[in-house]
Symmetry: C2
Subunit: 442 residues, 2 copies
């Protein structure tokens, strides 16, 4: 038996690292501690399960504890790691079911503790009808409520990705859904005028959007807001997440943006032999050139691959992120990458932007639908800084990947115009909408 | 009135150049000679019009002669340019309707003469039931035949893009369709095993594919092939196109790959002040680093933009192409970019490839369909050389654009794996299929 790797966490960041490390070095002894009862679950699928689009909760489990064990990982469910002693290379784990605590030694350690939904300290926030969206246990509870005919009035607090997806999920069951957002737009990662298209799409399918509305608390199936309380059978919190980095902090490991665990390009923390990957961990933003906290499955998987390769004796680097993300509101798809205008300002760029309306495919081909594309470039260099797409028709949002790849490679608007992108009438106008936006910038 | 620009041709290459030049320099006097009766028609839409998906032929006209005239271009339809005298800066035009010939002077000239379907000199190829697919007149004739209940047996000669699209068009009308291909695969721009998925998709919708079958001629509603003639009410030729470069050749202008008109990066031909853009014209392939002839609307439009900017006094360069193309057979989408294996061999690369099967979106999300992705890298540098995608689900083929953008930027497989692409369960697995293929190469 080789050296011992201990991973803390049971999802993509932790288990992905463990699996990759074991592939790279099969002599490793690997132990995984997971506080909950699941491993490798696809939390991003929860809104679609709650909405009734996905039949079985089991299908959201990419790999069960049993499957991990068959691959040689000693998975210990319902175990919480409560302390780490870096000098002694020992951690303290608490077996939650048997209420006992014991020590385990390690040679290398992975912190893949994930993130949790933000729960601001509002009166009544711990009431039973106020739910976060995180684990498959949450998914099951929310699905039961959604299909229950008593759950007719749903209030979603927060207009980000999860908020929108959960709003649509309950709308699918015919509930009356109100999204309450403290800011003056939904989807704060979009520019305001692009977010307005999203709000319109929500209103079109009957989801009420209340912007600039602060929630002051929760009380007896009511959400307390200015201008009249909202009755609610159920409240879903979609206020974003915060990294579970307390264990790292208490161990003396350095934290970065939004208290996410700081790592180098090899995913190593400030402590030698301690690695981190996934939602608990910071990323480097290649455009703003700053540390950011982006809790996404794609990022977690890529970080885990790099961490695992390094633990297994290889040498790999994770270059960073550019904030690419997509979602949808029914038929309206939404994609974004790079910096929004406020983010570009914040990062100190002098920029210009262009916004065009095109169609998802050739205008003369049936069912052509409007698609809005916005591109942001640095004024002096014309280098692309960001892109946003909102529109109808399948495959629209995934086009943001071309902009992402262009930004990743520091292309200019002129270079994007000349790029050899694909075209056929059922798929695109002859000038891809992304290129039409780039032409606008010339 | 400024200097005179004469353009030969009425489609994307010619009229796109004219329009762009006029925008850049409104003092230009612009005359356009077009042999046929249409301008700026979307030939790529013809199969979808013939298949009954597009209602009106007019919708395939991006800009009518009248619209061009209103923008200041003197469009002369049914005029053929028969000779160019570079020394005297004069050309000879024949007014086909009035059977008269006259001379017109020019300061700058654009050859945007397009391409025509290949018609090999087979016995009977000029019979009335044997059709090429090129102009909107062809489209109208083919549509009338398609909707005619007498046209039940259709033979398509050639298994390329147009052949496949026309086969599907007639299949939509319930005709019995046979595609006859001399080579041992359809879609010669794909590798054989990828093309096999396309053949299977064709067979699934009831199109018969006969590979390795040479056509020896046409006779009294029969296609003469080895092993038994095929009865046919209609034959569609899908054998590719050849550039209309005779006028250029006769003028002493240099030709390049497959007799396409040679141009520099500014789209200027070997003769000063004579420019070319579109299907008649050569392109530079950025991966093989050779001249190629690729007759596609996207390339024509980009070349025309560059030619027009230069004619109008600016300075623009067209960097080249990488052979990106997409099409579909019913629900099966097909995309390719860069070099195929035979092309990589031909270009002298030592390469490796990987092929993976993934799904169009998260496996647990409803209606996940298989998608096959193949990537080719240079062995020593791991630089991406080519990519191919075949699969089901809307938006699958357009994903080739990410590979195209990666190849354009000379990315390696490792860089592609780390790229920040978008993900949400209705749109993609957490590892985009393109990245799964890249991982296979590591």
């Amino acid at each position: 038996m080789g050296s011992r790797l201990v991973v803390v966490g049971g999802n993509a960041g932790a288990m992905g690292t463990a699996a990759q490390a074991l592939r790279a070095d099969p002599s490793l002894e690997v132990i995984a501690f997971e506080r909950g009862g699941w491993t490798s679950s696809a939390a991003c699928g929860i809104p679609f399960f709650v909405g009734g689009e996905i039949d079985s909760l089991d299908s959201l489990v990419a790999r069960t504890p049993e499957e991990h064990r068959r691959r040689g990982i000693d998975v210990r469910l319902r175990h919480e790691v409560t302390a780490v002693d870096l000098d002694r290379r020992v951690l303290e784990a608490r077996d939650l079911e048997n209420a006992r605590t014991y020590e385990t030694g390690f040679d290398q350690l992975v912190l893949g503790t994930g993130a949790r939904p933000l729960r601001p300290p509002l009166p009544g926030i711990d009431a039973a009808f106020v739910h976060g969206v995180q684990t498959l246990d949450d998914a099951e509870v929310l699905f039961r409520k959604a299909e229950n005919q008593d759950c007719r009035r749903v209030v979603v607090v927060g207009g980000g990705y999860i908020g929108l997806e959960m709003a649509e999920a309950f709308k699918r069951w015919g509930a009356s859904v109100i999204v309450v957002e403290a800011g003056d737009q939904v989807m704060r990662s979009l520019d305001p005028e692009m977010a307005a298209f999203v709000s319109e799409a929500m209103e079109r399918i009957g989801i009420e959007v209340r912007l600039g509305t602060h929630v002051n608390g929760f009380d007896d199936h009511r959400v307390i807001v200015e201008g009249g309380d909202l009755p609610a059978d159920l409240v879903v919190l979609g206020l974003g997440v915060t990294p579970n980095s307390e264990l790292a902090r208490d161990t003396g490991i350095e934290l970065g943006a939004r208290n996410a665990i700081k790592v180098d390009r090899r995913q190593q923390t400030s402590a030698a032999g301690v690695w981190s990957a996934g939602d608990c961990c910071e990323s480097y933003h290649l455009v703003s050139e700053r540390g950011v906290h982006i809790a996404l499955g794609t990022v977690a998987n890529r970080q885990a691959r790099v961490a695992g390769l390094n633990i297994g004796g290889g040498r790999a680097e994770f270059p960073g992120v550019i904030g690419t993300a997509i979602t949808r509101v029914c038929e309206t798809e939404i994609g974004r990458t790079g910096l929004s205008e406020p983010e570009a300002t914040e990062a100190g760029f002098d920029f210009e932007s262009a916004r065009i309306i095109s169609t998802n495919h050739a205008g003369y081909y049936p069912d052509a639908r409007p698609i809005v594309v916005k591109l942001i470039v640095e004024r002096a260099t014309r280098r692309l800084l960001g892109g946003q797409i909102v529109g109808g028709g399948p495959g629209v949002a995934k086009r943001i990947d071309v902009v992402a790849t262009a930004i990743w490679n520091r292309m200019t608007a002129e270079e994007l115009v000349n790029l050899d992108l694909s075209y056929a009438p059922p798929f695109s106008p002859v000038w891809d909408p992304v290129q039409t936006a780039a032409r606008q910038l010339l």
